[in-house]
Subunit: 503 residues, 2 copies
């Protein structure tokens, strides 16, 4: 595999080595910035080799842990492997790996859950400490150290700029037809020298198709030939289809009322089954000439691009099933005209999201009757994944939806509760809540008006009477009646679940 | 008083009438957009006349209520008078009036607490319903309906643009020397037509010094001659001086570390005693050539402009004591070169705040050990004032502080609690917490690291052992150990206060 076919720079060819040799250049105690966003474009060999190196050190009784910074979630070969050998001291800014999650919730690994738009600038500001090494997957190393990005851009620009040393993984699996699909903006500055970001349409190209780096910082190049973690695409289930239906009906209504253009506004959506259902629904809808300005391009969105409904999509990562990836590669010359991949500081930038007027659709764990949303914590203390870009989008969107089935765990948990056990999106940031039961449009409503609507439209009938009872009693007995609450009971639903397995 | 001296348009002179006559043009059931921001530039006669009209209607047994939209807080002559006669159906986006607060917390008045940067655009989007009448104070009516703004700009541009009908109050009290101090940006558009806002320095002027309006919409002009509500300036108390000291020490440290320029970055600060103390502290500090990009210019900041420490200040309102207002008027030709007043959609715009890299300093009611901040609710159910611009600034700032004395009510309340009773700023948005006890720098820390620091640095020694005890037991018994909590106890401090008057 070590034929150097995708390393076009003659000097850098000399840096090609094995994953083991490269991993040996990463010492304990440092911060490592790795590529990867939603299981796309993460390094596939060095983290595994590093995990072996860490395991061996631990067997010898030597401590070995690193800080792992990424774009967003990665894959078992990165987060999973390093967490399994207890090799991560601090993880940021987002993860969704089962082993990581277990370690974090057992109190064995520290995790900082950061708005994705904040990460790059915090590193530039020096707020997160020093970045020692970058480990970045690319599709090719061009002459002079220019890099052809892989299936995600994420924070790679910042890792390459900020790290002392760079390890490149050149993956020969992604199509070279990716060349020209990326747009890496090099116009960011530190305050007080920042300028407006000149992007006014999802299709605008404001940067270069390549990542730049100082070739003298490259200490290793490792060749791989491996697809991204395959996201398994499951057809939308009944609840997802109902949620998608409510959203599309609502968007149709907003167009009729003149509050949205006929081709809507750029769409953003979180990952998962509901998001795919929304895009499946949009495919059947009368909407035309749609655009997307989002983080992750999933199967549903690719399908919408392929059929022409979506005229342009901007994202920072491609998170596709095996089948969708094959379609993508087969028609990459077409898709390159309709898809752009940007750094996540641009895909998630408040300035751009607000300017474009995004329609944001994000999943959640639970909402309370007053419209506060918990996106990250199970029963107030265990992390699920992280806030990701949901805050960047919800706060700055034109219109923002939070979606969840009304129940979880076969009806043991109500996803509409008196008070959420953790707040990620406050009452000031939540506009529309959607479950399979219905949609609550909270725009322009005061807390008590919201409560009535959320209970009526979104709660599962099984839990509705208990929510109505809580609200009625709170209205009577709460010391303040702006946001009526019974503090002794507000979190009792979660407590009850923890004690009895049933809310 | 009705001499029309400040109504230079001959046609509009004919619209001059009494406050009673103007108030008679406001029917029940409509939404009224009033000027006013932090007790500056609010209409002073029409709301009082309207309150009398409402009281009379109620005496006749007729219903009479309106929706009141403003820039931010106003004064007894507006919020107080209308709340007293039960004339407000729905209030937004911010208030700080005792009678309003009482009505809201008694469940008799609805209130929507909105990020100040969201208000104007939500009205343009049609999300808050129809705006029927604008009642806007100005310093003069110029030819053709151009208006010289008064001591605040707030949402006046949007009210004038969006309302069907306009009532102008021309106040002859503010100095005509205000002419040229305002900068009203007319470049906003609705998505998908928005462009970058071309502001890169607090002193940039990007609009016009006047408010424009369609003169045919003006149905009444009322003349007044009255100062703004006088903010009484009290010298900083001991706790405020300690908090200010911690902040200035921290800023000095950040400059030393190279994380801030020597003249810092543009300052934003909420209102009140602590804010004034910070500016008093800055006056004695070695910092020079400072700038401010904030909502409200208070005495402390004006003093800093006057002495040359602050080279430029951008705000949306002047909220001055009687003495400071006199200084301001006496030297207005100087101040006009160093102060600009903008619409609040620009003073609070995420795009600008993020670009400029603001240092944000805002008060709060309480913080919890994990860094969640409550800015609005007393004991989880009663509103205090509102979120105002604190969210706009905290989320998008370069560096953000939340400040409070560590105790309230003479030691009955700890302002550091296990879990806040309401969340306005989530763990993802809070960087630095400051009390008179000390400063907790939470940047780059995971939840458990934050908890230790907040308890150690910020809690009052009286409450510290109980917080440590809660945290220690949570660490042991919490089902998840990412954010350890004991849900049965998390809000018990607030419950105990409600039952016993003591946390």
């Amino acid at each position: 595999m070590s034929d150097g076919a995708r390393v076009l720079d003659p000097v850098l060819k000399g840096k090609i080595m094995s994953a083991e040799e490269a991993a040996a250049l990463i010492p304990s105690g440092i911060n490592v910035g790795m590529s990867g966003f939603t299981g796309a474009g993460y390094p596939k060999a060095v983290p595994l080799a590093l995990a072996r190196r860490i395991a061996a050190a631990h067997e010898r009784g030597e401590p070995f842990k690193i800080g792992v910074w990424t774009g967003a979630s990665t894959a078992p070969e990165l987060d999973g492997a390093l967490a399994k050998v207890d090799g991560i001291e601090m993880r940021l800014p987002y993860q969704s790996d089962p082993t990581c999650r277990e370690r974090i919730n057992a109190g064995q690994m520290d995790y900082i859950d950061i708005h994705l738009s904040h990460v790059a600038q915090f590193v530039w500001f020096g707020f997160l400490g020093h970045l020692h090494v970058a480990v970045v997957e690319v599709a090719a190393v061009l002459e002079g150290g220019r890099l052809l990005p892989s299936t995600s851009v994420g924070n790679n620009k910042t890792w390459l700029d900020q790290a002392d040393k760079i390890i490149i993984e050149v993956n020969r699996h992604p199509s070279l037809g990716l060349e020209g699909m990326h747009d890496v903006y090099y116009g960011t500055r530190l305050p007080p020298h920042r300028q407006p970001i000149p992007l006014t349409h999802p299709s605008d190209r404001i940067g270069t198709p390549y990542l730049e780096c100082d070739p003298s910082k490259i200490i290793a190049i490792v060749e791989t030939d491996q697809p991204d973690r395959n996201t398994v695409f499951t057809p939308p289930d009944e609840n997802s289809r109902l949620i998608a239906g409510h959203i599309i009906e609502f968007l149709t209504h907003e167009v009729k009322k003149g509050r949205l253009p006929e081709n809507l506004l750029p769409l953003q959506s979180g990952v998962g089954n509901v998001a795919n259902a929304v895009f499946a629904g949009l495919k059947e809808s009368p909407f035309e000439n749609l655009t997307a300005y989002t983080e992750v391009l999933q199967d549903g969105m690719l399908d919408l691009v392929a059929c022409g409904k979506l005229s342009f999509a901007s994202a920072t990562a491609l998170s596709l099933s095996h089948e969708a990836a094959a379609t993508f590669n087969a028609k990459i010359d077409d898709f390159r005209k309709k898809i752009v991949l940007r750094p996540q500081e641009i895909s998630n930038h408040p300035e751009i999201i607000r300017r474009l007027g995004i329609i944001a659709m994000n999943g959640m764990i639970e909402a309370d009757i007053y419209g506060n949303v918990n996106s990250t914590h199970i029963m107030g203390s265990s992390i699920m994944n992280g806030i990701g870009g949901s805050g960047d989008f919800a706060r700055n969107a034109y219109l923002s939806f939070f979606m969840t089935p009304s129940q979880a765990k076969g009806g043991a948990i109500s996803c509409i509760v008196p008070m959420v056990s953790h707040v990620d999106h406050t009452e000031h940031d939540v506009q529309v809540i959607v479950t399979e039961q219905g949609l609550a449009d909270l725009r322009g409503l005061a807390p008590k008006q919201r409560a009535k609507l959320v209970i009526e439209k979104c709660a599962h009938p099984h839990f509705r009477p208990a929510l109505e009872d809580y609200y009625r009693r709170a209205l009577r007995e709460s010391p303040g009646r702006h946001t009526p609450h019974l503090l002794d009971e507000a979190l009792s639903w979660h407590s009850r679940y923890l004690k009895t397995g049933m809310m």
